[in-house]
């Protein structure tokens, strides 16, 4: 058994845990933004008006078909050339992760909305509810409850995806693992094993929560 005191000491572990903090912050911020954006995209794709429906559909289908790493690189290196504003790596990371995840969440939200019994919607309409009221009081509450497990597993995917922001220099968990592993005593195996275990514990915990939610609904 090799000596691992250099890894399991307070400064190194604190360095890595701050990275986990960045990872969680990136994921939490991006899931919040992408939920709002995904909701708009889903409603847009379900809209009666072609001028709203087509752009929303196009956005969802194209973004879903591209690699996230490309979107991250584009947001950090390419987007500033278009908008003329230099982005901090963290800002670029949140924009890219949110824009990408929004397209995936939009499809989850859309299928959730479509799964709501048509009769319920008609019943609400026949009671004189307006379109917005039907959506806010009937369709979305039912749809949201059904989508919760899928949204949690999307959050797990997003948490893993935050590791890709390491390539634009965000000091999240994976990047910090690389830094520790390339310093004396140059032993990457225990470092990456520890990083993997940290991700596993967080994500497996979340997946247990998701399963619990599914069972409660069943």
């Amino acid at each position: 058994m090799p000596e691992l005191g250099w890894l399991f000491n307070v400064p190194v572990l604190r360095f890595l845990l701050i990275g986990l903090g960045y990872t969680l912050a990136l994921a939490a911020l991006s899931i919040t933004i992408s939920f709002a954006l995904g909701m708009l995209l889903a409603l847009g794709r379900l809209s009666r008006f072609p001028l709203i429906r087509y752009p929303a559909t196009l956005y969802i289908e194209i973004i879903r078909s591209l690699p996230l790493l490309l979107i991250i690189a584009f947001t950090f290196f390419g987007l500033p050339q278009i908008i003329g504003v230099q982005l901090e790596p963290f800002q670029a990371g949140v924009i890219a992760l949110s824009g990408f995840t929004a397209a995936l969440l939009a499809e989850i939200i859309r299928s959730g909305i479509l799964s709501v019994n048509r009769g319920l919607i008609e019943a609400a309409q026949s009671q004189g509810f307006t379109g917005v009221q039907v959506l806010g009081l009937v369709t979305l509450p039912i749809a949201l409850r059904r989508m919760t497990p899928a949204i949690v597993s999307q959050f797990i995917t997003l948490l893993k995806d935050t590791s890709l922001t390491a390539i634009i220099g965000i000091l999240e968990l994976t990047r910090r693992g690389r830094i520790i592993s390339s310093q004396p005593p140059f032993e990457p195996i225990p470092v990456f094993a520890l990083i993997a275990v940290i991700y596993f514990l967080v994500n497996y915990g979340l997946s247990l929560v998701s399963r619990g939610l599914e069972e409660r609904q069943a």
Partner: protein
């Protein structure tokens, strides 16, 4: 914007497309092989085998692919196994996607009525024969659409090999971008190349899905 950067570098971008295809095909073969083994482990009666299969799936699915690839590329040389970026990418992608394909195949296998396995066993087939001749052919049929989606994910994820200095589509785009600073046109060009691969694949998956649905009616 200097779009000429795309035509000037078309040859190496297409070279990158070829590398993306190579990584994807090799990783897909590995992923399917792993997926079949994992799915079989998870449906056998042996508790040890089931535990092994479940542990593999749960671990790999909950760890970022980039961490797996970094482990293969940066850590394995420490124990004397030096992989090129290309092979670290292929193996990492295969190991990762294998867990997802294993889950897809498992639900396909469980979708075949239990009575069929019993019938096959009682007519004298061994467990492996029953799987190979009776259960798997049916399971594969119902799993083609989700398998297609995993394949599309694999193609997209193959871009992570760029992080271990493979010149696939994204790696080549990064290179051209850092040489010319024409990041915007180069990444848009790279996006087009990915769309050329993923959109027909998605249309194909949808078509097969519709076909199969009709077949079951």
């Amino acid at each position: 914007m200097r779009w000429s950067v795309l035509t000037d570098n078309l040859d190496i971008l297409l070279q990158g497309l070829l590398v993306t295809l190579q990584v994807s095909v090799l990783a897909w073969l590995l992923a399917v092989a792993i997926g079949v083994v994992v799915a079989l482990l998870r449906v056998t009666r042996s508790r040890a085998a089931r535990f092994l299969g479940t542990a593999y799936v749960e671990f790999v699915r909950n760890v970022p692919l980039l961490v797996l690839i970094f482990f293969l590329f940066f850590a394995l040389p420490d124990i004397g196994i030096t992989l090129s970026g290309f092979w670290a990418g292929v193996i990492g992608l295969g190991v990762y996607t294998g867990a997802f394909i294993g889950e897809v195949l498992r639900s396909g296998i469980l979708g075949v009525p239990r009575g069929q396995l019993e019938a096959a066993l009682s007519s004298g087939l061994t467990y492996l024969q029953a799987m190979r001749l009776v259960i798997l052919p049916q399971a594969i049929r119902t799993t083609i659409p989700p398998l297609g989606n995993q394949t599309i994910n694999l193609i997209k994820n193959s871009s992570l090999t760029a992080a271990v200095s493979v010149f696939d589509i994204l790696g080549t785009a990064n290179l051209i971008g850092s040489r010319t600073f024409a990041f915007t046109p180069v990444y848009i060009g790279a996006a087009m190349l990915y769309l050329v691969l993923t959109i027909p694949a998605a249309i194909g998956v949808n078509a097969v899905e519709r076909r199969l649905r009709i077949g079951y009616r």
